[in-house]
């Protein structure tokens, strides 16, 4: 099972922070957790991890200038580049942190990357195919979990 507590996830990511890439999906712009956009959590995570952001969907416009590096990417292309031909501008990641994808999309994406890269899904729905994901939880608990991860990243 992939489900892990927020502290475990934070510790797991801290160990690999130099090769982490955050993937932000379409829901980052759409969802707000009690007034705070999910995108802000993605930005805070990236900054705490000193990670670049592979901005999929339309998120690049909102992320640009707020993190150390970002680029418009296409979610479905990332698995093939990881598997066959990773190119700059980002260092090839050891871990991908996915945030803002529907559970179906997250499940498909981590499945296609299985065995190629470790994956962490920070949604409110458990994704068993990922290396680690949060448990299925309420919106309030999800917000707390994201805050706890960010707090424990440093």
């Amino acid at each position: 099972m992939a489900a892990k507590e927020p502290l475990e996830i934070a510790n797991f990511l801290k160990e690999k922070k130099r090769k982490v890439l955050v993937m932000s999906g379409q829901l980052c712009e759409k969802l707000e957790l009690d007034g705070k956009p999910l995108l802000d959590y993605a930005v805070e995570l990236a900054n705490k991890l000193d990670a670049a952001v592979a901005a999929t969907g339309n998120t690049v416009n909102a992320v640009r200038g707020k993190v150390k590096a970002t680029k418009k990417m296409w979610a479905a292309e990332i698995p093939i580049y990881l598997k066959y031909n990773w190119k700059e501008p980002f260092e090839r990641p050891e871990v991908l942190v996915l945030i803002g994808y529907t559970p179906d999309a997250a499940r498909a994406l981590v499945t296609t990357m299985s065995g190629v890269v470790e994956t962490v899904v920070l949604d409110s729905v458990e994704v068993p195919e990922a290396t680690a994901s949060l448990n299925t939880m309420t919106i309030d608990k999800w917000k707390e979990s994201l805050e706890e991860i960010i707090k424990n990243l440093g």
Binding site: G57, N58, A75, I80, Y84, N85, T102, S124, T138, I139
Partner: protein, 842 residues
Amino acid sequence: MSGKKVKIGEVEVNLADAVRDPRGVEDIAEDILQEMGERRLRQWDPKLNIFAHASDIAEWDEVLLDKYYTIFTSAKKSCEGCPQGPCDLSAKNGLCGVGLEAHKAREGLQDACKALARQLTHARDLLDYVIKIHGKEKEINLGPYEEFPMTNVAMLCGFYPKNLADVERALSYAEAQLAELLYAANDGKESAKDLVEKTMHAGSLTFLAMEVAETLRTCIFDFYNAGKVPPTEYADWPKVQTPVGLGVVDVSKPVICFMGNDFLPAWHAVRLIKERGLEDEIEVCGIGAAGHDIPRFYEKAKVVTSAAKARLAIRAGIPDVVVVSELCLPFDVVEEARRIGAKVIACGYKADFEGVEDKTELPLEELVKYLEENDAVQITMPEKAGELAVEIVKRAKEGKTAALLSEDEIKEKATACKACDSCFNACPNRLMLSRAMKAAREGNIKKLSEIYDECVFCAKCEHVCPNGLPILDMIIGASAEKIKNDKYMMRPGRGLISHIEWRDLTFGFVLGGNGPGMVFLIGCGKYPGAEKDIAEMVRYLVDRNCLVAVAGCVAADAAKYFDEEERKYIFEKYLAAGVLRGFVNLGGCTAISHIPPATYKGTMIGSGYTPKANWSQIVDYQYTRLPLVVLIWGAATEEMFSVAMGFARSGVSVVIGPEGFKFKTWLLGDKHDRSKWQMFDGITGKIREVEPCPVHMIVPVETKEEALTMIIKLFHRPLALRDPRLASLEAYNEAHKNFFGEYSDDWHLYVRSEHEIHVMRRMEMLRLLEKEHGWEVEGVRVKKARLRDGRLVDMGEYVENYGIQLGRYSTVVPRLVIKEMVGGAVAAPSKEIAKMHGTPKE
């Protein structure tokens, strides 16, 4: 195998060399070879896929699957496909030898087979019905403006059906193929690659099945059909006359709502309504496939919504009688109708709902009585189902109990929500229902009404709610005004795109012109805000000189736009003809079958090849030259998966909306891998490096902005001529910059000279070529360009080493490199094409 030898001019062809097994199909093979003519036969060795098995098209499929990676998305790691299982495939092969990849490929094939079965059974039911009435000699005639009826059949079987007996021969072939594919889907020991080829074959056969059903609709039941209408009328034909939306139905009248693939009950009901003069007394409307079929033969028909939102239409209390046949997105229609007291007539052998009894044998008077006392009945004969609907609808109206929840009722029910967020986590679109419930508890139902715009009414939230809240009813109740105002107009489907339109289009975005490409939009709006997104995408593309054609439920979603300034609905805003800036509605789901033939017409006109069991020849041409893309926006049904695989095999790239992440298979290219982007010079056979295009064959995207940008990127084709190249590159640069605030990292790969960069952007792009890509630029001229291997070379050398010289015959299929120069690089047109266009002088 030694076979019959045929002499075509000076060339002798052994049929056994041209066809895997010519026995029983010699006449078809000989006919095709005669048409190809001596010159072409001297240029290439013919390979004909008459009554094709999947492996007969392996030549092309392998080209495709070598170029594109097959990405499997299924997470399953064990197989339970036989009594020996389950086998854990994560570490080693199963007991039967199947590996994990092949098992995942099998899952895709199973999905495609389900879709094929659904379409084949529909086509078979309809064909049997028509043969009973008209006999097998009934002629197939799509009218004077369609010279090549049933091209999907011709591509797989090698002949154009002339009568119903021919159609039956083609359909029987497809049914036998389904059996073969099902065997592979369950017991096959093939490689993953072979299974993907079979999945694509299922896609091609799905088009054939749809084509049979669609052809019968137009030939026998007189649906709107562009083949019978002079092209001078296409600009505004058929008229924008069909009301669309939940608010267009006059619920003060008795309402019959038809759903599902089978239009026959509606056809008979309409016949009776007309005979009895009841057109103004009974509302006839459709949901999903039926919704798009009925307006093609009854001008007073109304389209309520797409199949994906059928539940919404019923919960909103619209129908008094629901007549339902097989559904592409199954749901418990009997239970839903019961909630509002509507009656259900399940029509056909496949509309077999639990607890609903087949009473076909009862006389009409007794059927009426039975349905007065019961919620639902199954009737297998369409005439009877249609008649019963007309007979019962007035009485059914009197017994109906539908009423939307009031504001007070919604607020009261919201108090039962414990904010467990089970609904949020089950919702495919992550709608924050508990927040809306909280607001409702506090007296504000506006948030529930906001959710209405994003909800796809799948009812997963209700299914998981531990407190049994009628969440959809609450959303619908809070949105009464929106439902009332949901009123638009659309143009009914017109069937095929004619040859004459393609002649024009060929000059619009193949041989020259300034159209970036042609987009076929299909799907069924099962996506939050789909209606708004689809209309916006149509406008964006048409405004950029594309031709957009819609087929299936998506047409009703696209209709939901009204231009306040021009006071026009979207279908009134644009030309209805197959021209640049045209917006065409082809029809319901079976009209999807017009799309591959529309693309083959481009090949026929551009190349002179007649599509007849010559898959590689036809598809090689369109894959490398024609800027055609399909967009599937909405539910990731088996049908959509199957047709996506079929389109890819036809050389047409497919962009799939957010639900597409659930497709079992994607076909993605790697633009960075130069070894994948090569072609053969058709004259010398020399391998040449070309641009990475089309870069993907099946690719999911997350947003409409991604969809538009990807569509435009996929217009690029290696053999496109200069003006279309300029149009598609400019559209790509514009979209990427506008939507994502930056240019893409690959646009420079599509530049062969400064003339291919739009003058409005040329200076900026030339500076970027210089600064970011190391090209040498002088004023407004490229002096030296950088090849992908890093060398900086002058333009002559660049063009010599990258891309194909404009107009140079080239191919991705080794067999199609010409053996012998005969009167020019490209063969003479076939007899049929020559008849239409004349033979050019050499």
